[in-house]
């Protein structure tokens, strides 16, 4: 089943209104051949996890520029685990200080993408790391 497109949820948690990056990434991943679900601004962790569950995505990409990542990202990761979505790859993009990266990884984030990351790097990472489904 390797020929089916991987499904990626791009979500913006919290009260951060800057969605240009998320939209550029969503569009870029579309062009890389992924099926991208975009859910819009100001999502609660609950909304994001519900969308991930109903859409049965392979990847959840969280975009955060507000500085609230240490609060929101672990909540999303914990809820994904709670609801049985332990095989979903979680990535984070945005303004994330290097010092915070180990804690986010500890929470369950596979990769943190900072400014200057190319679409291709994200796409290659997803292809290499998303866990295959049947």
């Amino acid at each position: 089943m390797t020929d089916r497109p991987l499904k990626v949820l791009i979500a913006k948690p919290g009260l951060d209104g800057h969605d240009r990056g998320a939209k550029v990434l969503a569009r870029g991943l579309r062009d890389e051949g992924f099926e991208v679900v975009y859910t819009g601004l100001r999502q609660t962790p609950d909304m994001i996890v519900t969308a991930a569950l109903q859409e049965d995505v392979d990847v959840v990409g969280l975009s955060i520029l507000s500085g609230a990542h240490m609060t929101l990202v672990p909540k999303v990761c914990a809820q994904l685990m709670d609801r049985g979505l332990d095989d979903v790859l979680v990535t984070v993009g945005g303004i994330i200080p290097d010092d915070d990266v180990p804690a986010l990884r500890e929470a369950g984030v596979a990769q943190v993408f900072g400014p200057g990351t190319t679409i291709r790097e994200v796409a290659d990472f997803i292809r290499a790391n998303a866990k295959p489904r049947e």
């Binding site: 579309r30 819009g40 569950l53």
Partner: protein, 288 residues
């Protein structure tokens, strides 16, 4: 993992019927990917489907299909009725990728187990739905949702496939969609059970509705043609403003009326005809 597909399919189908949303989502993925599990599960679930009201929503891009579906969910939930959505967006003919953006309008129901929303990419299928959308709707039907809303990609004039999948087909138009000649062209408007002029707060909405009402008159029925031929419809024309909810209760009443009146789409004969059309489409796809 080592289980036979039959056993996995049975387990998933039964869990989905029992309210396990994760199993339901997994099953829909299997249906989309046409796996062996999906075949077995559908064999089990198809006979259990048929209780839900399948409502198709179609119309040009930007007419407000997703917003209308979201408004209908709100109204259904207000009345304590459950709702599932299959929302289709187009796949890229170049890369195979897709941007599925219909959920943006349907965000209010994260904690509500009475709502289930699933986006699908059309994956190269041209009729306005994905080739697996009707099967996905059947799964949601069998899972117990009272209303299943099928939202097509933004359509032009001739993507009428949704009418073969839904009990009631709603065709959306935006104000100023054209003149009377547009309204008498063959195609999409012919398969409408209800026509909705959305964005009713914009200038021209009432005039557009009046033009549609004037032109969507059925031709005179003839006794000398095959009685099995679908009869011309005279769709009701409603005006809504989905973004504010204006006109949505009336739309739901019209949908219910179409169903309970055994309107064109809801009779057993019509269901059987649609099933035949679906089987034909599947055969064409597999043999073609």
């Amino acid at each position: 993992m080592a289980d036979a597909p039959e056993d996995r399919a049975t387990a998933l189908a039964d869990a989905a019927r029992a309210g396990d949303r994760r199993a339901l989502a997994r099953l829909l993925t299997a249906v989309e990917n046409r796996t062996a599990i999906a075949e077995h599960a559908l064999r089990r679930l198809y006979p259990l489907a048929g209780a839900a009201h399948l409502v198709g929503s179609t119309g040009p891009p930007g007419a407000g299909k997703s917003t209308l579906v979201a408004a209908l969910i709100a109204e259904l939930r207000r009345l304590g009725r459950t709702a599932a959505v299959v929302a289709v967006d187009p796949s890229s003919p170049i890369t195979g990728g897709a941007l599925l953006g219909d959920r943006v309008r349907m965000q209010a129901y994260a904690a509500d187990d009475g709502v289930f929303i699933r986006s699908m990419a059309s994956r190269g299928h041209a009729g306005g739905l994905a080739s697996t959308s009707t099967a996905a709707a059947a799964v949601l039907d069998a899972a117990g949702f009272e209303v299943v809303l099928l939202e097509t990609v933004g359509t032009g004039q001739s993507e009428v496939e949704v009418a073969a999948a839904a009990d009631t087909t709603v065709v959306l138009e935006a104000p100023e969609m054209g003149d009377e000649v547009q309204a008498i062209k063959a195609g999409l408007l012919e398969v409408a059970d209800l026509v909705v002029v959305n964005k009713g707060d914009r200038p021209g909405a009432q005039r557009t509705a009046a033009q549609l009402r004037a032109m969507l008159v059925p031709s005179v029925a003839r006794s000398d043609v095959d009685p099995a031929r679908p009869a011309p419809k005279r769709p009701e024309v409603l005006v809504t403003t989905a973004s504010t909810g204006q006109g949505i209760p009336e739309l739901l009443v019209a949908l219910d009326r179409h169903r309970t009146a055994g309107g064109d789409g809801a009779t057993t004969a019509a269901r059987r005809a649609r099933a035949a059309a679906q089987v034909r489409a599947l055969l064409v796809e597999r043999l073609g």
